[in-house]
Structures are given as structure tokens and as C-alpha cells.
């Protein structure tokens, strides 16, 4: 039983690697993990979302990703992840538990899996990160015309750079220090002439994602007033051991 807190910590770490694909933030920080417990050799997690009608495809991705992340630890005999208070909770929970895929969970209503959707939102997240990184350069005196010749290595070490490199790697785009900073979705450098408009669009993407994130956080607090402290939900281990690890 003494292992429970350590396992709880591992499980929480695994869950914190699961991001809301639309908001590009960890579900643990967004307050979506409402309860979690390590017991009887397994792990049980409950998720909640800001509204009853949150889009079912994104909801499915978070439940499935949480399930996969916990299974991948290889530490548990069983893993249960359940979405609550959502119009499609039943289909999603059953589909994920049966490892049926999205099309299996929503038979007749889906025309495929969610890879394309995930990819679209990874690209948006990348563009938003790119804008944040460019902004740090512009704020420190770089001219916009010079950005086309910039490489990732020109970015000073910062959280912005880290986020950008991580998303680049996720998308399979060049992420080394010599890689051009401003690239299209296919990895091709954006030419100087096209860059200002592309950067302007990247800004709209960032404003959009940040706005959605704040709205979702607000709605979650309205729906669950006790969700005021972000990440405050920790693990309850076996024997009533509270493993608050966030």
C-alpha cells in the first residue's frame, strides 16, 4: 500500500501530458480531472468539461488520450477513465473502454477517426506558438523583414521557444537550431513578402485559442464552483492516502 502515492504521482504525471487539443493546455491544469484514485491494482479517473454540449470529438480525444497515457505506464492491472455530465458520455466511455475507436463509439455518425482533426489543431497550436516566439523577437528590436531569415537557434532560450520546438517535433517539422523559424504547415520557409500577413493570421489564431481557453475555464468555474483552484484535484490512493501531487 505504500506504493500508492508513488503510483498516484506517476499517474498524475501521465495525465498532465494529455492536452485539450483545441485549447492546447494540459487537462490537469484546465481542471478537467475531477477525481482520481489508485486502488486494487488499478486506476480510476473521472473527467468533466465546461459544458454539457462540448464537442464530442474533442471530448473523446481527451478521454482516449488519458486512457492511453495511463495504460502506457504499464503499472496498472486495469484503467478506467470516465467522462461525466456530458451528453455523449455514455458512448464515449463505452467506446474508450472497449478500445473501439471514435468510429466504433459513434457507429453510423462518424466517417473516420480523429487523426485529421488532431492534426488541424496541432497546426493551429504551432502557429500560435510561432506568433508568441516572433513577438519576443520583435519586442527585443528585430525588424519584421528580418524574420524570414531567422532560425530557431536565433530564439533566446525561453518558454516560448520550448513550446515551439515541442510542437514542431510533434508535427514532424524541422526542429533543430538551424531550422528556419517561420515555416508553412509543410515545413517550407515562408518567404519575406508573405510573412507579415502570415504573422498577422498567426496572431488571430493565438487570440482565438487564448480567448477560448479563458472562456472554457470561466464556464467550468461557473458549472462547478468548487473548481476554483486549478489543478487542486489530486489522487486518492488506497487506504485513504491522499496523494495530492499537482
Amino acid at each position: 500500500m505504500t506504493a500508492a502515492p508513488a503510483l498516484a504521482e506517476q499517474a498524475w504525471q501521465a495525465l498532465s501530458g494529455v492536452r485539450d487539443p483545441e485549447l492546447d493546455e494540459p487537462i490537469t491544469e484546465l481542471g478537467f480531472v475531477v477525481a482520481a484514485a489508485v486502488r486494487d491494482g488499478g486506476v480510476s479517473v473521472r473527467l468533466r468539461l465546461p459544458t454539457y454540449f462540448c464537442a464530442p470529438n474533442f471530448a473523446y480525444l481527451m478521454v482516449a488520450d488519458a486512457y492511453d497515457a495511463l495504460v502506457a505506464l504499464g503499472e496498472f492491472d486495469w484503467v478506467e477513465v470516465r467522462l461525466t455530465d456530458h451528453f455523449a458520455a455514455e458512448e464515449i466511455n463505452a467506446g474508450v473502454a472497449a478500445e473501439a475507436g471514435f468510429a466504433g463509439a459513434f457507429a453510423g455518425q462518424a466517417a473516420g477517426e480523429l487523426d485529421e482533426l488532431r492534426d488541424t489543431f496541432r497546426r493551429k497550436a504551432h502557429l500560435a506558438c510561432l506568433e508568441r516566439a516572433c513577438r519576443t523577437l520583435l519586442d527585443s528590436g528585430w525588424q519584421i523583414d528580418a524574420l524570414a531569415g531567422t532560425t530557431l537557434g536565433d530564439l533566446p532560450a525561453s518558454a516560448e521557444r520550448e513550446s515551439l520546438v515541442r510542437r514542431r517535433a510533434e508535427l514532424g517539422l524541422p526542429s533543430g537550431p538551424d531550422a528556419p523559424l517561420f515555416v508553412e504547415d509543410d515545413g517550407e520557409p515562408v518567404p519575406a513578402g508573405a510573412l507579415p500577413k502570415r504573422l498577422r493570421f498567426a496572431k488571430a489564431v493565438r487570440v482565438s485559442i487564448e480567448g477560448n481557453s479563458a472562456f472554457c475555464r470561466g464556464l467550468l468555474r461557473t458549472r462547478y464552483p468548487e473548481a476554483g483552484v486549478e489543478g487542486a484535484v489530486g489522487f486518492a490512493g488506497a487506504e485513504g492516502v491522499e496523494g495530492k501531487v499537482s
Partner: protein, 346 residues
């Protein structure tokens, strides 16, 4: 009409409801979930003192609506946007007929919009003709995430949707309000995607497409389309209340809209009864882009505010505006009117 600091503002509220979300009308758990979701929007973004009890929010009276919009809320003309949701509510959530009956008791206050659903096929086309004749429709509100039996929604580019848009052209229904929601077929696609708006806006240059809540949560995709399609407009329902709780975000959204569209294609809306127009109008007239954002987004002038609050919608619906309120008539340039230069450090 709202007057402040010697400036007059003619107010068209482009998106109001007269709904019945009460338990007696809820057909199932989805109906309950839907009104509770609206109620959370209402509670989350309304200032203190403006939050209703759930019971009142579920079903409010005609008298409440008239008082809130016209006696207290400065609204000169309100546009009813129906939301049928007949799979969720026994008598529908908010139908054209319910709106129309109220509107007829208060002449000159309302514009009654209709709705259609491409999944209704030929029968629906005929019904649209009757609806248009009965209510003299100039606009329709389309909700693409509406459930119908096993179907969870539709796209503007569906073949039958083109038939209905052709019918709108024929009937003189020129204002197509589009509201995206969380579901469509197939469910694996992004249901909030506004790419279908791009296609129909090109195919029907004689129709205006007013995208409700400016495409949120896909503001960027909406802006990208609207900048290229002159007949695409942004409706500020859901955006307006951020003026209170997150004014800097509100400034950013408005700034982006002014940059990608222009001041002539943005329309004010309260989404009543989700939010009350009184505080929205007052705060909007007092609002200014924060100083540190002005280099990028510019400043809001009384003329810009007048257009957004009423004149733009008045143009779409040929609403007569008192002469003293008419702003300068020359249209601002599209696209790069405000804050067009990217930030370049000095």
C-alpha cells in the same frame, strides 16, 4: 435610442430570443442540458446584479422582454432569430411562430426571421415559401448543429442547402444568419469549421451571410474567410458580454474584426435573454481600445460605434434610421482600414 456625451446611437439588437426552455417543455435530457448550458453562459459573463434565477431564465414573459429590450435596454429595433430544437423541446425552443405572435402585438418593434433545414427536402421548401409569405421574411437563422432523429447536423454545402439558398434568393430573403454548434455529420470533423460559409458566400453573391458569434470558437477562420468575401458579416452575439469580464480580450476580438473585415460588416447583438442589452450598450459606448493596443488596433470613434450598434444592421434590413443619427455615409475601406501595419519596433 441611447444618448451619451452629446452623441446619439440608434440601436438594432440583431439577435434576440423569446424562448421556452422550462421543464414542462423539455422533451428529454438534451433539452435540460441545452438551457442549463445557456444559463451558465448567462451566469458566467453577466455583471453582478444582472443574473436571473434559473426559473425566470427558463421561461420569461412577454412583458419582461418588452421592458428589458425597449424600456430599459435602449433597443430601437430587435431581430428575432428562431432556434427550433424540436428534438429537444416539445413545442420547440423558440420558433418563428412564437416570435411572430409577439411581434404582431407590438408593431414596428421587431423583425421576424425564419429558419429552414435542408434535411426537410421538398416539403421544407414549400413550407419556407409559406413562412416567408406569412412573416414577410427578410432573413433566416440557420443552426447547423440542430439534431433531427439520427442526424446530428448539416453543412451549408450540402446539396439540399443550395436548393434552399436558391429559394431564399427567389423569395428576397437576403440575410442568412449562420450559427455553428458542437455537432454535425460526420462527427469526426470540426463542427465549428466555417469553411462551408466561404463556398456559399462565393456561390451566392446576392445573399449576405451574417456569422453569429463571429465564428467563435474559430475566430481566426472566420476572419480569414470574411476578409475575402465582401458579403460575409460578423454578428457580435456572445462576444459583447466579454466587454465586462474580459475587456482586453474584447478589445482584441474587436480589433481583429476591424482589421480583417471593417467597421461596416460588424453587427451588435445581445443574444437576449442570455445577456441584457442595457449594460452591453452602455459599456460599449463607453469602451475604448486600451492604450497599449491602440498602435495596432486604432481607436473606436463614435461613428464606428454607431455603425456597429445599429446602422450596419439597419442597412441589411432597410430599417429607417432617424436623420440625426445617420453617420457619415462613405464606407471605410475593407480589409486594411484599421491597424493594417504589422508591428515593427521603432
Amino acid at each position: 435610442m441611447y444618448t451619451k456625451d452629446g452623441q446619439q446611437y440608434f440601436v438594432v439588437d440583431s439577435h434576440v430570443h423569446f424562448w421556452d426552455g422550462s421543464p414542462a417543455n423539455q422533451a428529454n435530457r438534451y433539452g435540460k442540458g441545452f438551457i442549463e448550458c445557456f444559463y451558465d453562459y448567462h451566469r458566467n459573463l453577466s455583471p453582478e446584479g444582472w443574473v436571473w434565477p434559473l426559473e425566470k431564465f427558463e421561461k420569461y414573459s412577454e412583458q419582461t422582454l418588452m421592458q428589458d429590450l425597449f424600456a430599459d435596454g435602449y433597443v430601437d429595433k430587435a431581430i428575432f432569430q428562431p432556434t427550433y430544437l424540436t428534438d429537444f423541446y416539445v413545442n420547440g425552443f423558440n420558433t418563428t411562430e412564437q416570435d411572430g405572435a409577439l411581434a404582431e402585438r407590438h408593431p414596428d418593434r421587431f423583425i421576424v426571421n425564419g429558419a429552414w433545414d435542408p434535411r426537410d427536402g421538398e416539403t421544407g421548401l414549400r413550407e419556407l415559401e409559406l413562412l416567408a409569405e406569412r412573416w414577410k421574411l427578410r432573413g433566416v437563422k440557420l443552426y447547423t448543429a440542430e439534431w433531427k432523429g439520427s442526424s446530428k447536423g448539416w453543412k451549408l454545402t450540402d446539396p439540399w442547402s443550395y436548393r434552399y439558398l436558391e429559394k431564399c434568393e427567389e423569395l428576397g430573403i437576403t440575410n442568412i444568419h449562420v450559427h455553428k454548434g458542437p455537432t454535425i455529420y460526420p462527427l469526426n470533423r470540426d463542427s465549428f469549421d466555417v469553411a462551408d460559409v466561404d463556398d456559399v458566400a462565393t456561390a451566392f453573391p446576392g445573399l449576405n451571410f451574417i456569422i453569429e458569434h463571429v465564428g467563435l470558437p474559430r475566430l481566426e477562420d472566420f476572419c480569414w474567410i470574411a476578409t475575402q468575401e465582401p458579403n460575409v458579416y460578423g454578428g457580435l452575439a456572445v462576444v459583447m458580454p466579454f466587454i465586462h469580464s474580459r475587456p482586453r480580450y474584447f478589445a482584441q476580438v474587436l480589433g481583429e474584426l476591424l482589421y480583417w473585415l471593417d467597421e461596416n460588416r460588424i453587427t451588435f447583438a445581445s443574444d437576449y435573454a442570455i445577456w441584457h442589452p442595457k449594460w452591453l450598450v452602455e459599456k460599449f459606448v463607453d469602451f475604448q481600445i486600451p492604450e497599449d493596443m491602440q498602435a495596432e488596433y486604432g481607436r473606436l470613434t463614435p461613428d464606428i460605434k454607431r455603425k456597429i450598434l445599429g446602422l450596419n444592421a439597419a442597412k441589411l434590413y432597410d430599417i429607417e434610421v432617424p436623420a440625426e443619427v445617420r453617420a457619415a455615409e462613405e464606407p471605410a475601406e475593407s480589409g486594411e482600414a484599421v491597424g493594417s501595419a504589422p508591428v515593427v519596433p521603432a
